[in-house]
Amino acid sequence: MALSELDVLAGLAELVNDETGIAADAVQMDKSFTDDLDIDSISMMTIVVNAEDKFGVKIPDEEVKNLITVADAVKYITANQG
C-alpha cells in the first residue's frame, strides 16, 4: 500500500535526524533543506540514498537539485514510490 504524504514526512524526518541530529519535529513541509535546516550537499546526498532504500523509490541525481523544500521531497517520493 502506498504511503501518504504524512507517512513519508515522518519517515524522511527520521532520516534527516539520523544523519544530522536535527530534531525530527523541526523537519516540516515548508522548510528548505539548505536555508532553514542547514543541511550540506554531502548530507543531502546521504539522505537521498537512504530515502531510496527506505521508500523503494529512485531519485535521479538531476532530480535532487529540484528538491528545495521538505515538501518537494515528500511530494516526489509519494508520487514515485514503488
Binding site: 541530529g21 550537499s41 546521504t46 540514498v49 531510496e52
Partner: protein, 410 residues
C-alpha cells in the same frame, strides 16, 4: 629560536580512555592486549587473533552524528584532542596563530574497505558521499582543526610508525620559527581490521602468541616474535613558552629537540648499524644543547620484533657509548601494543609524565632479556633520579623513517 612547552595532554589507548588513566594503568603494569572477539577473526581464519583494542569506545564521547561522519581513526583523534585542549585550559589564541599537526600511519582503512564491500555488494549508488573525506589520511587532522577553529595550517605527516613523532616534530618547528603560537599535535590509528592484520602477518611482523595475548608484546625478551597491533590516539598541546607563561598555563615540560632522519637502506628492515636512528637522537640532542650524558630516561621504540629491538640498541650504543648503561629505558609497547601512527603520540605523553613524576614505567614480559641488548630496562615502575635530565622518545617506521623527540623539565 622560540622555546616550546607542553601544556596539555590527551589520549585514548588500550589501557584507558584518557591520558592520566592510561599512565596510571601503565605504572601498575597492566596489559591492554586482548583476544579479538569479532566474527571476522574466525571467518577469515586469521593467523593472529589478538590486539590492543581501545579500552573506551570513542562513541561514548562523541555525538552519533560526529561518529557517523568520522572514520574510527578520526574519532579517536578528536576524543584525544578535546581532552588535551581542555587539559590545557582551552587557550585563548587567535585562530590564525593556532595550527594542527596530526598524523596517522595508514589513514581511514575501515572506511575505505567498508566502502569497497558496499560497492561490490550493492553498487556505486550506495557508496556513501562522505567516503573520501573519511578515508583520507588528513581526516584526523582536519577533524581537529575544524573542531578547534585552527587557521594557521592543518597538516598530516605520514611516515608509518614514525608518523606521530614526526607530527610533533613538525609542530615543534612551526612554533620555534614563529608560524604559530599554539599547535595541537599527535597521532591516531584505528587499523584493527582483518586486512591490515592479514597483511602485517603476511610479512611475519606480528607476534602469533594467540594463546597468551598479554604475554605477546615482549620487547627485548629472547622469546619476542613480532609486534602486537594496537589502536588509539594521543594529543599534545604545544605552546610558545612566553605565550604559555603570559596566560598562566600549567606547563608539563619543555620540548627541547625534535629531529627526523631517514635510512635509505631498506623499505621495511631497519639499518642494522642504526646510523639513521642515531643521527635522529643526536639531532634532537643538538637542538636541545645537551650532551648525551645529560639523558636519563628513554622511551624506546622497542616494538618486540627480533631485528628492530637490536637495531635500536645499536643506535643507542652509537650515541651514548659508555653512558648507555646509565639510561633508564621503558618499552611501553609491552603494555599498549604498537599504535603505529599513534605510537609516537602516546609515548610522548608517557615520556612527559615520566619526567614530571620522575618515574620510569616498568616493561612487561621481560622474562629473559636478550643478552645482545645490554640496557637497563626496569620490570617494575622505578623512580628516576635526575630531575634536570633530558628524556627522549624514539619512533621508527617502515620506509626508513626515524623521528626522535627530546623533553626536559623547566
Amino acid at each position: 629560536m622560540r622555546r616550546v612547552v607542553v601544556t596539555g595532554i590527551g589520549a585514548t589507548t588500550p589501557l584507558a580512555g584518557d591520558a592520566l588513566g592510561s599512565w596510571k594503568s601503565l605504572l601498575q603494569g597492566e596489559s591492554g592486549i586482548r583476544s579479538l572477539n569479532y566474527e571476522w577473526v574466525e571467518k577469515y581464519e586469521l593467523p593472529v587473533t589478538f590486539a590492543g583494542t581501545i579500552k573506551v569506545p570513542a562513541s561514548e564521547k562523541l555525538t552519533p552524528q560526529e561518529a557517523k561522519r568520522l572514520d574510527p581513526s578520526s574519532q579517536l583523534a578528536l576524543v584525544s584532542a578535546r581532552e588535551a585542549w581542555e587539559d590545557a585550559g582551552s587557550p585563548e589564541v587567535s585562530p590564525e596563530r593556532l595550527a594542527v599537526d596530526f598524523a596517522t600511519g595508514i589513514g581511514g582503512v575501515w572506511t575505505l574497505l567498508d566502502a569497497y564491500d558496499i560497492l561490490k555488494e550493492r553498487g556505486p549508488r550506495r557508496v556513501l558521499p562522505m567516503t573520501v573525506p573519511m578515508l583520507m589520511p588528513n581526516g584526523p587532522a582536519a577533524a581537529i582543526g575544524m573542531d578547534l577553529g585552527a587557521r594557521a595550517g592543518v597538516r598530516t605527516a605520514v611516515s608509518a610508525c614514525a608518523s606521530g613523532n614526526e607530527s610533533i616534530a613538525n609542530a615543534f618547528q612551526r612554533i620555534r620559527i614563529g608560524d604559530a603560537d599554539v599547535v595541537v599535535a599527535g597521532g591516531a590509528e584505528a587499523a584493527i581490521h582483518p586486512l591490515p592484520i592479514a597483511a602485517f602477518a603476511a610479512m611475519q611482523a606480528l607476534s602469533k602468541r594467540n594463546a597468551e595475548p598479554t604475554k605477546a608484546s615482549r620487547p627485548y625478551d629472547v622469546d619476542r616474535d613480532g609486534f602486537v597491533m594496537g589502536e588509539g590516539a594521543g594529543s599534545l598541546v604545544l605552546e610558545e613558552y612566553e605565550f604559555a607563561k603570559a596566560r598562566g598555563a600549567k606547563i608539563y615540560c619543555e620540548i627541547v629537540g625534535a629531529a627526523v632522519t631517514s635510512d635509505a637502506y631498506h623499505i621495511t628492515a631497519p639499518d642494522p648499524e642504526g646510523s639513521g636512528a642515531a643521527r635522529a637522537v643526536l639531532g634532537a640532542l643538538e637542538q636541545a644543547g645537551a650532551s648525551p650524558t645529560e639523558v636519563e630516561h628513554v622511551n624506546a621504540h622497542a616494538t618486540s620484533t627480533p631485528v628492530g629491538d637490536i637495531a635500536e640498541f645499536t643506535a643507542l650504543k652509537r650515541v651514548f657509548g659508555d653512558h648507555t648503561k646509565n639510561l633508564v629505558v621503558a618499552a611501553t609497547k609491552s603494555s599498549t601494543g604498537h599504535l603505529l601512527g599513534g605510537a609516537g603520540a602516546i609515548e610522548a605523553i608517557f615520556t612527559i609524565l615520566a619526567l614530571k613524576e620522575q618515574m620510569c614505567p616498568g616493561t612487561l614480559n621481560l622474562d629473559n632479556q636478550d643478552p645482545a641488548i645490554e640496557l637497563h630496562v626496569p620490570r617494575q615502575s622505578t623512580s628516576l633520579s635526575r630531575h634536570d635530565a633530558v628524556a627522549i622518545s624514539n619512533s621508527f617506521g617502515f620506509g626508513g623513517h626515524n623521528a626522535v623527540l627530546a623533553f626536559r623539565n623547566l
